[in-house]
Amino acid sequence: MQRIGVFVCWCGSNIAATVDVKKVAEELKSEPGVVYSADYQYMCSENGQNLIKSAIKDYSLTGIVVCSCSPRMHEATFRKTASEAGINPYMVEIANIREQCSWIHKDMATATQKAIILGRAAVAKVNLNTPLTEGESPVVKRALVIGGGIAGIQTALDIADAGYKVDIVEKKPTIGGKMAQLDKTFPTLDCAACILTPKMVEAAQHENITLYTYSEVEEVKGYVGNFDVKIRKKARYVNENLCTGCGECTSKCPSRKGLNEFNMGLDGRGAIYIPFAQAIPNVPVIDTAQCIKFKTGKCGLCQMNCPSKAVDFSQKDEFIDEKYGAIVVATGFDIITLENYEEYGYSMYKDVVTSLEFERLMNAAGPSKGHLERPSDHKQPKTIVFVQCVGSRDTTGCGKEYCSKICCMYTAKHAMLTREKYPDTEVYVFYIDVRTPGKNFDEFYRRAVEQYGVHYIKGMVGKVYDDGQGHLMVRGSDLLANEQLTIKADMVVLAAATKADESARKLGTMLTASMDTNDFFTEAHPKLRPVESPTAGVFLSGFCQGPKDIPETVAQAGAAAAKVIGLLAKNKLKSNPCVARADSLICSGCSNCEKVCPFGAITYAETDVNDGTVREKRRVAVVNEAVCKGCGACTVACPSGAMDLKGFTNKQIFAEVDAICRQTGE
C-alpha cells in the first residue's frame, strides 16, 4: 500500500480565486492511501518544495500528488523535489487544477468539485505507480547531412567548426544546389556565386567534412545517437582519386545530345561532363543514357584522351555503411512542371520560360554568357512579361495551395536587373499580391516600381498565344483598371511554384520523419522547435521544411547545426522511461503494433517464452526503448492487451477513470 501525500497549490489567486483549496485538501485526505494533505500559496517556490520534502520524510511518503498547474509547467520541478527527498521521481503525479479547472470555470462550487475529482484521479493513479528508471544510450559523434545545397553546406560547416565529423550526401554530381544556378540575390543584388562558391570550397577542404556527391541514402536504421546508414555512391565511371579535373575528356566527347541540367536544358552538354566550372568535386560524370560507349560499345574517346587514366567504364555503385548520432535533412526544393498550366504556353512556345531558366539566361556563366536573348531566335527581347503565382496559391487542385514565398522578390529582382542592363526593354509583372515581408524587401520592390519603372499589373494572365509573327500575346486582366488587356511581348517568364524535392518523400519514410501533404517535413513544434523533426535525432534545414529564401535558409541551417552540436556534445542520452513494453507471455506476434508505430520502435524477435508449464520459442514484439516516444498507439492496437505503457498502464488509466466516475454520495 502506498503512503501518499497531497499538496494543493493556490498559485496565488490563479487557483485559489475559483477553487476552494482548503476544501480540496480536506476532501482528498480521505482518499485511499492518502496519509497527508496540505495546501500552500506557491507550491513551486522554495518554501513550497521544502514543505513537500519534509512531508516525505516526516510521513514516510512513497508517492505524492501535486494539485497545481499543467504538468508541462512544473512536473519536472516536482519530480526533482521528490527525487531530492529520496523517492523515485516517477512516483509524482500532477492534477492540473489550473489550466483545466480554475482558469476555465467561474463558479467556485463547481470548480472546487472538479478539482477534487481531478485530485482523486491522480491519487488513484499514484496508488498503482511503480518506480521507473531512465535508460541511457551512447552518442555517435558524427552527423549526416542529406543534401548539399546552401542549407546542407551551412549546417555541415557549422557542425564541423564545432569539432564534430560531418558527412554530406548529395545526389547530384556536385554540391551547390539551386543557389549555384542563381545570378544575383535579393535584396542586395550580390552575386550568388561569389558568396556560395567559397563556402563550397570550404566544405570540400574542411578536415571534419566528408563529401559523398552523386550519392544517395539507401537505408536508415537505428535511433537518436545511433543511426546506421547505408549510402549508395553511384558510379561516375571516373575515378575521383585519379582525376585531375583537366576537362580533356569533356571536350573530346562526340555525344552532344545531353541537355545541360545546370542551364535548365537551355543548351547541350557531352555525355561525360562537369556540371559547371566551379563544381565540387571538379570531377566529371558519365551520363550512360547519352554515352555512345554505353549504348553501342564503340567510342571510348574520353578514356583514350584521359592523361591520368581516370575514366573507368567498369565502375560499379559502391555502398558505404556509417554510424551517425544525428541526421540533418536538407533536401531543398524544385519547381513544379507546368503540364497543368498550358494556358501559359510553356510547352508550345520556346520564349515562354520559367524564372529559373531566366536566371540562367541572365547569368554570365549561362548559355548566352549573360547576354539576355530569347531562346527561339537569340534576339534580345524588347518587351518581357513576368507572370507570378504560376501554380502557387492555387486552390483548383492543379498546383500548390501554399505561397512559394520567394517569387515576388526574385521577380522584382529579374525585372530590375533587366531594366538596369537593358533600359529600352519594357517590363510588365502580373501579380495577385506582392508579398515583401523581409528586411529591406519592400524597399527593394518599391525601387523596381519607382526607380526602374517596372509596370506592375494586379491581375492574372488567362492566355499566352502567338500572333504568327514571332510575338507572344499575353492576355490578362488588370483588376485595378477593371479591364482586359493584351500585351505584345517577346518573352514571357513564369514564376512556377516551388515544391519539395522529389527525394523527400522516400527519405521521410526511411527516417520515419513526418511530412505534411505537400511533402514538406514537419517540425516538432511550429513555433518553439522549428528545426527539429518530431523523430528524435532528425533535424531540418532549409526549404525541405517549407518555402524559404536564402537568408532564412542559412539562419535555419545554423539553428539546425546548433541543435546537432547540442546533441553530439552529450556522451550519453537519457531516455524517457515511460515507454511501451510487450508482455511476451501474452503477445501473439500478430504485428498490429508494429504497423501503427509511427516511430518504427517495434521489432520482433524469436524469444524463449516460459508460460507456466509450456516452454517454447515464439515470435514476440520487442520495443526499442530509445526510439519509443510513449505515444501509446500500440497499446490500443494490441488485440490481446500484451502492450502496455510504463507509467501509463491500462490499469492506471482505468483506475483514473473509475475515480472520476465514482459516485460521491453527495
Binding site: 498550358e342 504556353g345 502567338d466 500572333d467 504568327g468 509573327q469
Partner: protein, 262 residues
C-alpha cells in the same frame, strides 16, 4: 467494334454531312454504328441548368438504352456529346439527380452513369488508333494546311469532359496528320466562337470569329475543320475561310464520295 450511336437533331438536317460522313468513314474503319431507337433531342443547352432534373431526362434515356445493350454511346455532334457526358457525370455523382431521374423514369435497375460516352474523335484516337486511320487513306491531303477548331463544348469543363488537354488539345491535329495534311496550330482553337450569342449580339460573335479566322490565316492555315454544327454556322457566317466538318475531311482522304445533297 460496335457502338450505339446518338446522332442528335442537328445532324438530321443542317449538319447532315457531319452524320453521313461519320457513318461512311466508320464503315471503312470497321466500326459499326447502330442508331439507338427512339432517341430524343439531347436538350441542347437546357440540361446544363444545375437545379433542373426534368431537362436531363432525354439524355438519361439514351444513356440507359446504351447500358441495356452493354455498348458504348458514340456521339459526333459536340453539343450532344457535351450534354450526354455532363448528364452522365451527374448520374454518377449527384445523388439528387440520380434519385429524381431514376424515380421518374421508373428505371429498374437504377442508371448510375455506367455507360461510356465517347466522341467519334475519341473512338479514332483510343479505340481504332490513328495508325489504322492512316492505312485507310487513299487520297492523302498532302500539302493542305488545315487548322482544327475545337471550340468550348468538347473541352470544357475539362474535369468532366476529359476529352483532351483543354489548353493545348491535339486529337484533331493527330487526325489531320494521319490523313496526310499539315496541321496548323491556331492558338484560338479552344476559344469560344460566340455560340448562341450570335442570335442576339452579332457584333460580339463577329469579333470572336474574326479573331479566330485571322489567327488561322496568320499561322498559314487555308482551311478550318470543326466538330460542332454551331461553330460551323458562326465560322461560315462571319469568316472567309472554307470550313469543313472533320468527318467530311476523313471521307475526302478516304476517297469516299459524298454528294452535296446527300
Amino acid at each position: 467494334m460496335e457502338y450505339d450511336y446518338y446522332p442528335g437533331c442537328t445532324l438530321k438536317n443542317k449538319a447532315s454531312h457531319l452524320d453521313i460522313c461519320a457513318r461512311k468513314a466508320a464503315e471503312k474503319l470497321g466500326a459499326a454504328m447502330t442508331e439507338i431507337p427512339e432517341w430524343q433531342c439531347c436538350g441542347g443547352v437546357y440540361p446544363m441548368a444545375g437545379n433542373e432534373t426534368a431537362q436531363k431526362l432525354p439524355a438519361v434515356r439514351a444513356l440507359n438504352e446504351a447500358k441495356s445493350r452493354g455498348r458504348d454511346l458514340l456521339c459526333v455532334c459536340s453539343a450532344c456529346y457535351h450534354v450526354l457526358k455532363s448528364v452522365n457525370y451527374d448520374m454518377a455523382n449527384n445523388a439528387t439527380v440520380i434519385t429524381k431521374a431514376n424515380t421518374y423514369l421508373e428505371n429498374d435497375p437504377w442508371y448510375k452513369g455506367e455507360t461510356r460516352v465517347l466522341h467519334y474523335l475519341e473512338m479514332l484516337r483510343d479505340d481504332i488508333g490513328f495508325e489504322k486511320v492512316k492505312k485507310c487513306v487513299e487520297k492523302p491531303l498532302t500539302g493542305k494546311k488545315i487548322a482544327s477548331y475545337y471550340g468550348c463544348l468538347l473541352l470544357r469543363p475539362s474535369k468532366i469532359m476529359k476529352f483532351d488537354n483543354p489548353e493545348n488539345p491535339s486529337v484533331m491535329e493527330s487526325l489531320i496528320k494521319a490523313l496526310g495534311g499539315e496541321p496548323v496550330i491556331d492558338p484560338f482553337r479552344n476559344e469560344c466562337c460566340g455560340g448562341y450569342v450570335s442570335a442576339e449580339d452579332t457584333e460580339l460573335t463577329e469579333k470572336k470569329v474574326r479573331d479566330i479566322v485571322e489567327s488561322v490565316k496568320a499561322h498559314g492555315g487555308e482551311m478550318i475543320v470543326t466538330a460542332c454544327p454551331l461553330c460551323m454556322y458562326n465560322l461560315k457566317k462571319y469568316g472567309d475561310l472554307p470550313v469543313k466538318y472533320f468527318t467530311e475531311l476523313i471521307c475526302e482522304a478516304f476517297g469516299i464520295e459524298v454528294l452535296e445533297d446527300d
